[in-house]
């Protein structure tokens, strides 16, 4: 791994204090913007926290652009659907940044049902000296206005404002699992368990349904959509993954409703590994195009796979994330961990991939050298600027020093969400209610 993952240093960590952490503080999504200057997290409490990388300073060369809180706002509130008599959670399922086009930043955030477009902008000046209003904004008595003044802008403390610009609601019956901004920057899609909708950023009261796999008779339902994403360069192309471990690539030019896929990626099942859990563990929890647009990466319960868009019958690379769990599938089914949705990310050059595991472990795979490493994101063994030690899980036989046995893994500590800076080796790892930011060693 370039620069070696084990030499990564922690540049900042621990966003919140955890003595009073609650369920609402659990981070549910992490996303860098397109420049990597900002990092957004969403949590189960419906909040979005944005971090900004500080400017590098010459006097403190060891501080290499740490991330500090830039803005915090409540994106979604808990709601109640009176028709269905059900609560809609405020949990942020996904955040996606729009490419920056002016001084303001825009991002999409979604919970189970509603997508919102937020504008995050700075204000460091305020106008003073209005004619009709006084300093507090109250209208002045017209008879008191005797002179004409020219309002002026005066500097003030920097303020970051987040304002909701659009609310895209009422289009999803099932739970939204993905949103993806199209490379035309005018549209985006939102996918739920059974349907994918296409939206224009300017229009909130209608969307086009581009995929619908809901059977006429719900009794026949055996497959759901688990994730979806637009191609990074071709605005007509998108992929979606399913609970049966398959990926469909669709071309929106062929028909308005993309019920028929253009490509169908599926790996034949290995008969030697067949069990009752085969289908569950092959269910895809995340799908991501490489930055180049040539490859797709998918994450299922035990592996990460890289597919070449030009080869549909099998992945070109398969990486074992935690194969030692294969013998534990029954317990993992029993305690529902087998349904955990791990995500996966590419590094900026598509040469390394990263995904999470249990026990606060996360894994990196170098596609060129085929080296892999297991790292741990935890408070106990990481202090600011400490070097991360690779961890090893012991599989059978004698346990060596520094190894951890499969039986002592903590399945309540799982790393589901990670993000990789678009151009540098900086990663963000969400471990329950903590966010860790690691970067390559300086020098």
């Amino acid at each position: 791994m370039e620069e070696d993952a084990e030499t990564r240093k922690i540049s900042s960590s621990f966003l919140r204090d955890h003595s009073y952490a609650t369920e609402a503080d659990i981070i549910s999504t992490v996303e860098f913007n397109h420049t990597g200057e900002l990092l957004a997290t969403g949590d189960k409490g419906g909040r979005v926290v944005i971090f900004q990388r500080e400017q590098e300073s010459k006097n403190q060369p060891h501080r290499r652009g740490e991330y500090n809180v830039y803005s915090t706002f409540q994106s979604h509130e808990p709601e109640f659907d009176y028709l269905k008599s059900l609560e809609i959670e405020e949990k942020i399922n996904k955040i996606r940044w729009l490419p920056q086009q002016n001084a303001a930043y825009f991002l999409l955030s979604t919970n189970d049902k509603t997508v919102k477009l937020w504008k995050v902008s700075e204000r460091d000046k305020r106008p003073e000296g209005y004619n009709l209003k006084d300093e507090d904004g109250r209208l002045r008595d017209p008879s008191m206005i005797t002179v004409l003044r020219v309002p002026v802008l005066r500097p003030m403390d920097l303020m970051v404002e987040a304002t909701p610009r659009r609310v895209f609601a009422n289009a999803h019956t099932y739970h939204i699992n993905s949103i993806s901004v199209n490379s035309d920057y005018e549209t985006y899609m939102s996918a739920d368990d059974l349907r994918i909708n296409l939206w224009n950023f300017e229009i909130t009261n209608q969307s086009f349904n581009i995929v619908d796999i809901k059977p006429a008779n719900m009794e026949e339902l055996t497959e759901v959509i688990t994730a979806a994403e637009f191609h990074p360069h071709h605005c007509n192309t998108f992929v979606y993954s399913s609970s049966k471990g398959t990926i469909r690539l669709c071309d929106m030019r062929t028909a308005a409703l993309c019920d028929r896929h253009a490509k169908f990626f599926e790996e034949p099942e290995d008969p030697s590994n067949r069990s009752f859990f085969s289908e569950i563990i092959s269910s895809i929890s995340d799908v991501k195009f490489s930055h180049s647009g040539r490859y797709i990466m998918t994450r299922d319960y035990l592996t990460v796979k890289v597919w070449d868009l030009n080869m549909e019958n099998r992945p070109i690379e398969t990486y074992q994330v935690h194969d030692y769990l294969r013998s534990k599938l029954c317990s993992l089914y029993e305690n529902d961990c087998i349904f955990d949705k791990f995500e996966c990310v590419w590094n900026g050059s598509d040469s390394v991939i990263m995904t999470g595991s249990y026990n606060n472990f996360f894994r990196m795979f170098d596609r060129n050298t085929k080296r892999d490493v297991t790292l741990e994101a935890s408070r106990e063994n990481s202090k600011p600027r400490a070097i991360l030690k690779p961890r090893k899980v012991c599989v059978g036989g004698k346990r060596r020093k520094d190894e951890i046995s499969v039986d002592s893994l903590d399945f309540s500590k799982k790393i589901l969400h990670t993000a990789w800076h678009p151009s540098e080796n900086i990663i963000a790892v969400a471990a329950t209610n903590n966010l860790y930011i690691f970067q390559d060693k300086v020098n």
């Binding site: 008599s85 719900m218 026949e220 339902l221 055996t222 029993e334 305690n335």
Partner: protein, 265 residues
């Protein structure tokens, strides 16, 4: 039936279900032809499969209590159940259970499609069976008093699928579904409603303790570490060893009657 009873019914049924069926799996084994892979013929495989089936049915049942369950999870569990039942149908285990438990009841009455794919119209029709079901449960409890475990297992084999008002993911008509829970489920649901269960784990902890005991054993067997097959089998089988076949037969007629009421009307 009070809320208390409602709460305890499910675990009780599950335990009995497994115990009774285990004995049948044993019986059936001599009949199974060489069509099965070697591994599948050993009793522990059948036992594991049965336990997995039970576990899945309970999970589905709990999914169904939620107005808007995690669809992906529900579908995956339901597919697992289908797969198990398909396999059991193929190797004859399923048929055996059916023949033994309901006499002449035809296979398709209780197999996966019936359990998993019930339309909401059927649910409404079933609403009428509430009282009959209640009676059934009372009979059931008195059976328990007589320590007739064989009857109980037979009854539960029928009953578990009936409880499983599947169609778990028909979210677009949640009210309809909700109105059609069977009586005991309703009671469980009412009890839980006040506590607004957020996670399935919550539900499990409220409803179903003995279920977990079962799983612990199953897990032990799967990993082949803590418990040898024989040990675990003995744990499973000891209660049923006392029940004889004749006991079973004598009660089957009554049961058939009850089952017919439940299934036909």
């Amino acid at each position: 039936m009070g809320e208390e009873e409602g709460l305890h019914q499910t675990p009780f049924l599950d335990t009995m279900f497994v115990r009774g069926l285990k004995r049948k799996c044993f019986d059936g084994e001599e009949d199974i032809e060489g069509t099965l892979a070697g591994i599948k013929a050993i009793p522990s495989y059948n036992l594991q499969r049965q336990s997995l089936l039970d576990m899945s049915l309970v999970k589905l049942q709990l999914c169904h209590m939620l107005v808007e369950p995690n669809l992906c999870r529900s579908v995956l569990i339901a597919n697992t159940v289908r797969q198990i039942q398909e396999e059991m149908t193929q190797d004859g285990t399923w048929q055996m259970i059916n023949t033994q438990s309901t006499g002449q009841a035809s296979l398709d009455r209780l197999v996966s499609t019936d359990i998993l794919c019930r339309s909401s119209r059927d649910h409404q029709a079933e609403g009428k069976h509430g009282p009959a079901y209640g009676t059934f449960n009372k009979d059931f409890e008195s059976d328990q008093a007589q320590d007739n475990s064989e009857t109980m297992s037979t009854a539960s084999a029928v009953q578990t699928p009936r409880n499983l008002q599947s169609n778990v993911w028909e979210m677009e008509s949640p009210q309809e579904n909700k109105g059609n829970f069977q009586k005991s489920l309703d009671q469980i649901f009412e009890t839980l409603e006040n506590k607004s269960p957020n996670t399935v784990e919550d539900l499990f902890s409220e409803v179903d303790n003995s279920y977990y005991d079962l799983d612990t054993m199953l897990t032990g067997m799967m990993s082949n570490t803590k418990m040898g097959h024989c040990d675990s089998l003995e744990t499973f089988s000891s209660p049923t060893n006392t029940a004889s076949n004749s006991n079973c037969k004598s009660d089957l007629n009554d049961l058939d009657h009850i089952v017919e009421i439940l299934v036909e009307s």
